[in-house]
């Protein structure tokens, strides 16, 4: 049947909040880079956002069901891309995460694969008949999310690999995970964690955890980033030091101010009030997304939107948590605020799918 689509059904409010966050992000990218060799990054970021908007509108036109139908092919392609990264990827700081494409574009598949995993899981749970997830469901969910995750972990990129965990968890939770299975999974995760600590984690990753637990033990060495981030955030006070006035940010005491530590810079320059404002914006966006999930036309739509919710919430939790010292340094960017094309495009692509689902809520 033909569906009538209207941009009246487009979630303009959600887009408004998203763009507000993006604008604050661009402003902060400007503030953190204008006096450095990264000057002009805010314009690049703006271009990425515009490209992302275009992508979002484009994706919102294609019926998400057709994406779902092809999700197994997409999944296979994703796994192949991740394998390709391991083989021909650019080696930067000891990790292969990028593929160089013609035209000087760096392509980081691990960002997009998240979306594919969300779609694949949405399709799996869409087709599930019973109310509660069986052990077989759990195992299959684990394979769908786990195989790409292990490939990302092998790059190695612990931070991005971890973002697959909330997708997996959200799918299981909504798919009717039983309490005893949840407990068993939790124990398994602990065992895997302990095993991973002993046999898989690289020394630098272990050090990060060490440093997280004790940043003052070596404030000039490994704990430097954490300590400087804490000083930046704390010294911002209630009202902040003002745009381009953050001494920690501008004096380059704080590392990666326009990427991983963008929120710390923002908190230093805009203070408690500004930082809480941004948190509130993210919360509103997440609440709005959940509302869209509730009104989705089918289970697949709900699962897809909630997958996006899981990724976004996890990113915010880990990134802001890192800045306020609740989480170790993992190198996970803050979506929409941190500089980075892949991250921006991923968010808008995901948003496009959400819009797509919303626009079809009255169809059927």
């Amino acid at each position: 049947m033909r569906r009538f689509l209207s941009y009246r059904d487009f979630d303009w409010l959600l887009l408004g909040f998203i763009l507000l966050i993006c604008a604050l992000g661009v402003l902060e990218v400007y503030s953190t880079t204008f006096s450095t060799r990264f000057a002009g990054m805010h314009m690049k970021q703006t271009y990425w956002i515009l490209v992302g908007l275009g992508l979002m509108f484009a994706v919102s036109l294609v019926d998400y069901h057709s994406l779902l139908e092809r999700s197994h092919w997409l999944w296979i392609a994703s796994v192949l891309a991740l394998v390709a990264v391991l083989i021909i990827g650019h080696k930067v700081l000891g990790a292969r995460r990028w593929i160089g494409l013609p035209g000087g574009i760096h392509f980081q598949p691990s960002e997009w694969v998240k979306l594919v995993v969300i779609l694949a899981l949405a399709r799996y749970y869409h087709e599930m008949k019973q109310r509660e997830a069986t052990l077989a469901d759990i195992a299959k969910t684990g394979l769908i999310a786990g195989i790409p995750m292990l490939l990302v972990l092998a790059q190695p990129d612990l931070g991005t690999a971890l973002t697959y965990v909330p997708i997996f968890g959200m799918a299981l939770f909504l798919g009717g995970l039983r309490l005893k299975h949840a407990v068993a999974l939790g124990l398994l995760a602990c065992a895997v964690g302990a095993g991973g600590w002993l046999f898989v984690l690289k020394d630098y990753q272990k050090e990060r955890v060490h440093t997280f637990l004790n940043p003052e033990s070596d404030p000039q060495g490994k704990g430097y980033q954490i300590q400087q981030a804490l000083i930046a955030v704390g010294s911002g006070g209630i009202w902040g030091k003002g745009l381009t006035k953050g001494t920690q940010t501008q004096g380059e005491f704080l590392p990666m101010t326009h990427t991983d530590f963008a929120f710390a810079s923002f908190a230093e320059e805009q203070g408690f009030v500004g930082a809480c404002g941004v948190l509130l914006l993210y919360f509103v966006v997440l609440a709005r997304l959940i509302q869209n999930a509730q009104t989705a036309p089918d289970r697949a739509g709900t699962f897809t939107v909630m997958g996006v919710v899981a990724v976004l919430a996890f990113h915010v939790l880990v990134n802001v948590g890192m800045v306020v010292r609740f989480m170790p340094v993992t190198g996970i960017p803050l979506p929409l605020m941190s500089y980075g094309g892949s991250s921006v495009l991923f968010m808008f692509l995901a948003l496009g799918i959400v819009m797509n689902i919303r626009m079809r809520r009255f169809v059927n």
């Binding site: 869409h126 909504l174 955030v233 004096g251 306020v324």
Partner: protein
Amino acid sequence: MMLGSEEKISQGRLLAVQYGILVIFLTLGFGLWRLQVMGSDRYGLLAERNRIRTIPILAPRGKILDREGRILVDNYPSFSALLLREQPTTDEDLVKIASGLNLTPEQVRERMRKVAGAARFQPVILKDDITPDELAFIDSHRNELPQLDTIVVHRRLYPRDGFAAHLIGYVGEVSEEMLNQPKYELYAPGDVVGRSGVEQSYNAMLMGTDGSRRVLVNSRGKEEGRLDEKPAQPGKQLRLTIDLDLQIAAEQALEGHNGAVVALDPRSGEVLALASRPTFDPNHFAVHISRDEWNALLTDPGKPLLNKAIQAQLPPGSVFKIIMSVAGLEEGVAQTLVVNCAGGKNFYGRFFKCHSVHGGGVEITRAIPQSCDTFFYTLAERLGISRIAKYAMALGLGQRTGIDLPQEVAGVMPSEEWKARTFRQKWYAGETISVGIGQGAVTTTPIQLAYAIGGIASGGVLRRPHVAFPQDLPPEMRPVSEAGSERRVPIDPKNWELITDAMANVTQPGGTAASAHLEGVDFAGKTGSAQVVSNEAKQKHGLSGAQYKDNGWFVGVAPRRNPEIVVCILVEQGEHGTMAARLVAQVVKAYVEKRRGHPTKLARQGSASSSVEVAAVWEEPGAAPGEGGKLGGGRFRVPVSRSRARAAAPQGAP
């Protein structure tokens, strides 16, 4: 379509997710509140400390001048390598730094260990007086090694060849033991303080207050702006009572000898000259002295670091006879004493030798100029140790004079009580006989003898020796009371005349120092030679080396009564007081000639020879600071004193 179940998802679970997210956000908000509201003061402070670096501006020490304002000690600018310690220095950097500064990594580590207790934002001086090469190394590595910097240090420039070295002293870094003492509690490790001489005793005055410059830096230690500057307050200059012309004469008198000379103005206690030999070059102490050089100074048998004018405790020998004369005359014993000197005399069953045979009828008027031991043995026997000790103690022997120089020693004036206290033994009457000629347990310092003899010649008024003018000093550094600076020993004018006349005969034909006679100068004094070991011991053990030769003493005054100058010399292994007397005569002659308006040696020499050559590097003018402008370097001469074209104004002879 491949749609399967249209079963809706449990709303409860979606709501649970919503609440879960709310909890996460509240937690994050709490995290922000904890840091930005609760911790904002603490982190604000840390952020300030991060970006503000305090660089010291070292205050130059005050100059040291002679009594006429001629410069004895000056400063010259030099560069020191500075290590900033906000960021840790990796071992790799440390090795680089060490090689660039021509140090071993161990030396750098040792340096860092020494100041480990100091505050982190306080930079450390790694190396003093760096060469142009080392300066260039620092300048060219500003990006790789931002923790290295340079600082201009005003380094002490002392007269060369150890001129007046013991008087002036030297400076050095405050030691760990010193820092534990209450008087150094305000100092920090690395501070440069006086370690000896007037540099030490007037350190508080000479030392300025360091200033500081606060600059904004980024995380790599690069300077991004200047915040404020607290200028350094230079130390105050110190004018000494020393007369450079006389100091030169004193130094020359001692040349080639070991010992000490001190010249006082007994009317005031002002020290006019003070020298000790062998000497050392304090300029080597201004930069870090090498361990070898330091050990050589410590182990030198001549004890070059000892200021013998105030730290050598030796038997005064025959100079003590003047004190004996005061005691004997005041007690009414000596006036009538006439002895027969047959080259010595038996006391208590033992023969005490005289240095020659003076024959019969030796009275005090002859006993002093000819230094007859037999006379003074007999006088000592008659007086007894208690009365001798009473007068000697009254005249300041066995006690510190209280001169404003560090580490003065007291010497020993023996008495019954002293022996009981020190050895828990009874005094033997035989010991008194040796004390009569300044042997036995009596030991004195040159400054004590100058003080005592100068006081006797001044009619019994002794004034505390000092090298700084009390009126020039800040109130807290002045001597506690004026009363303490003067000591009066009643001496009958008749006795005073008798003693001073006899002392004047010492330099006359027939006196022990006839060869030191100064034509047209009323020059009086007393020779002394003191055994290092007794004659018996010499014979018994066959000791004959130079180290067992007698020490020669002479204390001279001019004029004989109410003298303007008293000079005491100690010539180690000088054998006799005669040679010592001739050396004193040189100093007295220099004094008298200056008073009479003859051009001084300094004025005759002109300025060229009284300057010191130093090496230094500097930034060429015109370059903006911090840009690492062009460096200049070279050697140049710094005048130590201004030559005085002194008008030869005729002055009445004293």
